[in-house]
Symmetry: C2
């Protein structure tokens, strides 16, 4: 049945057009600016039509969120090529912060909007490679595990917990910057530098 094939293609195409318009609206005016009627206007269809291809506004935001997280993953992935686990962790931090600062609306949508979006990224759906969130976390866990195996870790904690600690801390730098705008007067990049430097060598002078 050739028509159903074509129809399938058109359906995918329509969804893509909707998501493109939605993405543009979010990037321009933030998540609150995302409106079904605005999307409909942009793609020159009636609002109701969108509901033939998406279950709800939330479903569209959901897809943008996953898409955004995949972009984040792609942005930090090159760090994985670095052999030395310590250098790798540093580069991951640099890339993570840079992505957050350069894509504020995307980062907000993922981590500072409705909790259900971020939650879904870390939910285990029994897939082979795990959820996107766990895939990202694995980069950190792996680096810490290598450091542990090489006897380079002074601290006695599981790599998993260390990875979550590092992610939280770096997230804080990005999130606080995006939340307050002006508060951390120190630039995020400098804060990240300070954080990693301190994490590495400790805050205090040897006694």
């Amino acid at each position: 049945m050739a028509t159903t094939d074509r129809r399938e293609r058109e359906k995918t195409e329509f969804r893509k057009i909707v998501l493109d318009a939605a993405r543009r609206i979010v990037l321009e005016g933030g998540f609150d600016a995302l409106t079904m009627r605005k999307i409909a206007d942009a793609i020159e269809y009636a609002p109701g039509t969108i509901y033939l291809y998406f279950q709800s506004r939330d479903a569209i935001a959901f897809e943008l969120c996953w898409e955004g997280f995949e972009a984040l993953l792609a942005a930090v992935a090159p760090a994985g090529a670095i052999a030395d686990p310590q250098e790798r962790l540093l580069d991951l931090g640099v890339r993570y912060v840079r992505f957050g600062i350069e894509n504020p609306q995307t980062y907000r949508l993922i981590f500072m909007g409705d909790p259900k979006y971020a939650t879904s990224l870390f939910e285990d759906r029994g897939k082979e490679e795990g959820s996107p969130g766990m895939q990202a976390l694995a980069l950190l866990v792996g680096a810490f595990a290598e450091l542990r195996a090489q006897g380079r870790l002074a601290i006695d904690a599981e790599p998993y917990a260390l990875a979550e600690m590092l992610w939280s801390a770096v997230h804080g730098i990005v999130a606080l910057h995006l939340a307050c705008g002006q508060f951390p007067e120190t630039p995020p990049e400098r804060l990240r530098e300070l954080l990693t430097q301190t994490l590495l060598h400790g805050l205090f002078a040897a006694p």
Copy 2:
């Protein structure tokens, strides 16, 4: 003029009643649940009446936000009594994380909602004691300055930047927990412990 005095009292009283209702709604259903009509229902007035006492829904959220930040300040303040700056910093962290976890809706409203709320907390309005945000930051800056004066800091960075770095990192622990719910599987308290431990002593074994 006794009537205007009474009227002034009634006006303050009405504002308090509105804010009480608004706070209850936010604590129960989150910020999105805060609706002028819901407030009006709760206090048994017409929606329009609220606008005689508050400029907008935003203004109400604004006051809740300030109020919440003052509660956060009050929650961490006792740490200021600790003489040793290092111990003081640790206690500040404990109290900060505890407040965030125990008051998720309040913390969300302050730091994870509309950026303008958090921004206003750090804006300098030329007051003597500075903005509430800067007041809170001063606690951290002071502790780092003491450590520096006592020659106990190994790292060569301004106390101000170190304070912002620490706040960001601790914020990250709270914010990521509130944003993802389940993601950092490690409990926030444990992550904070790991963070401070690592910040203090460094991540790596001495070569």
